[in-house]
């Protein structure tokens, strides 16, 4: 009796703490549904309710959203193609200097994005690929590849040796073993890596603002939002509506794929 009572008391505290933590997000949603004239009243709920802000946002931001989806999916593809075979090599095959490679992967996650952006900018400028979607995909993939290799190889190291030996006895080549045994077993890791690659590419501001600042509609939603800040400084309603729209994929992925999000967090817990 007493323990149940105490447990609910803790739930109450937990609810208060969570509410405090999520208040900024509530505030964003609240403002996004408030009429322009009433925003400065700072009501605790949208008393002057409107969806007009969303109409403004959807009419202007849709192309950016499409570009972001494209960039996100492209980043997922590049990340998976590069990191899965590398992880197989590191965890199940013999690679000379694998300690050095592991060290480089750790450092790669620590390099400030602004340093990378400076290097990319000169190279892209020389090659004439600034303001291109694929240039941004390749740059964004550098955020996720080290994480992908480390998460994949942690999982692949746990694949029982017997499973791979059985394939070998059946006469499978290394490629065949990788493609038909290792990859299907690693499906969950692939979902986790892909999920984070997408989220990070979707959230990226730094590479987008340096490598793709003049790409027009072929820029991601973070830049669409950034334009909004500059051009409509006083229009907080549409701005917050745009912020809500930009958060939707994150929210969906968090709800639909919560299991994979948790897996990724416990495995690596890395983010800029």
């Amino acid at each position: 009796m007493n323990t149940v009572h105490r447990a609910w008391w803790k739930t109450a505290i937990g609810l208060v703490l969570t509410a405090a933590m999520l208040f900024p997000l509530y505030w964003m949603i609240n403002v996004s549904f408030t009429e322009r004239s009433a925003i400065r009243n700072a009501d605790l709920f949208p008393r002057a309710f409107t969806v007009e802000n969303y109409q403004v946002v959807l009419s202007s931001q849709l192309p950016y959203l499409g570009t972001s989806v494209l960039i996100g999916l492209g980043t997922v593809a590049v990340t998976l193609v590069i990191s899965a075979p590398a992880a197989y090599a590191l965890s199940k095959l013999h690679v000379p200097g694998h300690r050095v490679i592991n060290f480089m992967l750790i450092v790669a996650q620590m390099i400030p994005a602004v340093v990378m952006a400076l290097g990319f900018y000169t190279i892209y400028s020389n090659l004439g690929v600034l303001n291109s979607v694929y240039g941004l995909i390749l740059a964004d993939s550098t955020i996720a590849v080290p994480f992908g290799v480390m998460l994949f190889s942690a999982f692949m190291a746990s694949i029982p040796k017997e499973l791979l030996e059985a394939a070998e006895i059946d006469g499978a080549s290394y490629w065949r073993t990788f493609w038909s045994v290792v990859l299907p077993v690693s499906r969950n890791s692939a979902v986790t890596v892909g999920l984070f690659a997408f989220l990070w590419a979707w959230s990226d501001f730094l590479f987008a603002s340096t490598l793709n600042r003049e790409g027009g509609n072929l820029r991601p939603i973070t830049m669409g939002l950034y334009d909004f800040i500059g051009s409509q400084n006083q229009e907080w309603g549409p701005l917050m509506a745009a912020a809500v729209v930009a958060s939707i994929p994150t929210a969906i992925l968090l709800i639909v794929a919560q299991r994979y999000v948790a897996a990724g967090i416990t495995a690596g817990a890395v983010k800029d």
Binding site: M116, G119, W236
Partner: protein, 324 residues
């Protein structure tokens, strides 16, 4: 029993690698094993990728810090080698010392609060209670959202005249604070950054707590130790290795923060850190004003060296943990 310093000396390293080979392996003259060939083939795409997308940009960055790059360089290609001249220019700049101090404040204050709040929450959520898992999952939301979303929201909440924070403070009779003006912008971005970093600390410290045996607490409880005593005598000491990793990663991630600061204050006034300074010099002013690529690259190289050092420290801490 290889010590971390042995990584710098070539001899023990070779010995270690030899020792790692299976017993009975023929001398080195033997042909390379098939698994090695396969390993090389499977790692090749990443090796090439690494050279093209990490080594090359970083090389460009360092090279830019040693050459005088101007906007014209991108047209003419002429950038004379000037050695460490630009390094001297940057460190002698009147902005250098204040920026380093502000960076230190930004990083240290953020870390202290992120860690203590994260640890408090981790300890709190460790006791299972109804809804604890759902609430803990909700704590992650701010971490996964695009930073531009959070930053914009904080910017509006900190609006001097109509922001909710000043309204709230007004209830207690406090005067409105001009959060984003030059003097206060450092504290504004620190507050937002602490908020952003709490989920990361909560997650790592929570998983660290999971590895502490419940028996220890039961034994302590039988001996009559208070919750506070249990925390200081069991939780905190046993959490030390996790704490080290958390603070180390937190340090690196906070040091390189650009977006939250740039979106909230554009790095103006006291909120300029080394990372935003580099960003501002290279990309900030748009095409019209003076662009200082080389100076930005100098600051970038400094940050890069710190990242490298921290990589070694990370390896050192990790290895010491494994030896235990």
């Amino acid at each position: 029993m290889s010590t971390p310093s042995s990584a710098a000396r070539p001899l023990p390293k070779v010995a270690a690698r030899r020792r790692g080979q299976p017993p009975g392996d023929a001398p080195r003259r033997r042909r390379i094993r098939p698994t090695t060939w396969a390993g090389l083939a499977f790692i090749a795409p990443m090796a090439i990728y690494f050279c093209v997308f990490y080594v090359y940009p970083l090389y460009e960055n360092v090279s830019m810090s040693l050459h005088r790059f101007t906007r014209a360089t991108f047209v003419t290609g002429a950038a004379p080698f000037v050695g460490t001249t630009i390094y001297t220019e940057v460190t002698n700049s009147p902005l250098f010392v204040p920026t380093v101090i502000q960076t230190a404040i930004f990083v240290i204050v953020s870390l202290v609060f992120q860690y203590t709040i994260g640890l408090g929450l981790a300890v709190f959520f460790r006791r299972h209670f109804p809804l604890s898992e759902v609430l803990r999952a909700l704590f992650l939301v701010p971490w996964l959202l695009p930073i531009i979303v959070s930053a914009t929201t904080w910017q509006w909440m900190m609006d001097a005249e109509n922001g909710i924070i000043n309204r709230f403070l007004g209830v207690f009779g406090m005067d409105p604070i001009w959060w984003l003006n030059n003097d206060h912008s450092l504290w504004a971005v620190v507050i937002a950054n602490i908020w952003l970093g709490i989920p990361f600390n909560l997650v790592i410290l929570y998983s660290g707590l999971q590895n502490i045996s419940a028996d220890l607490y039961e034994a302590a409880a039988i001996d009559g130790a208070s919750a506070w005593r249990q925390f200081w005598s069991i939780t905190f000491p046993l959490l030390k290795p996790v704490t080290a990793i958390t603070l180390l990663l937190g340090f690196v991630y906070t040091l390189k923060v650009v977006d939250i600061i740039w979106i909230m204050s554009m790095g103006t006034g006291s909120s300029q850190t080394l990372a935003t300074w580099a960003y501002a010099m290279a990309f900030g002013k748009g095409s019209s004003s003076v662009i200082r690529y080389s100076q930005a690259a100098v600051v970038g190289t400094v940050l890069l060296v710190v990242a490298l050092i921290m990589g070694f420290v990370y390896l050192f801490v990790q290895r010491r943990q494994e030896e235990r």
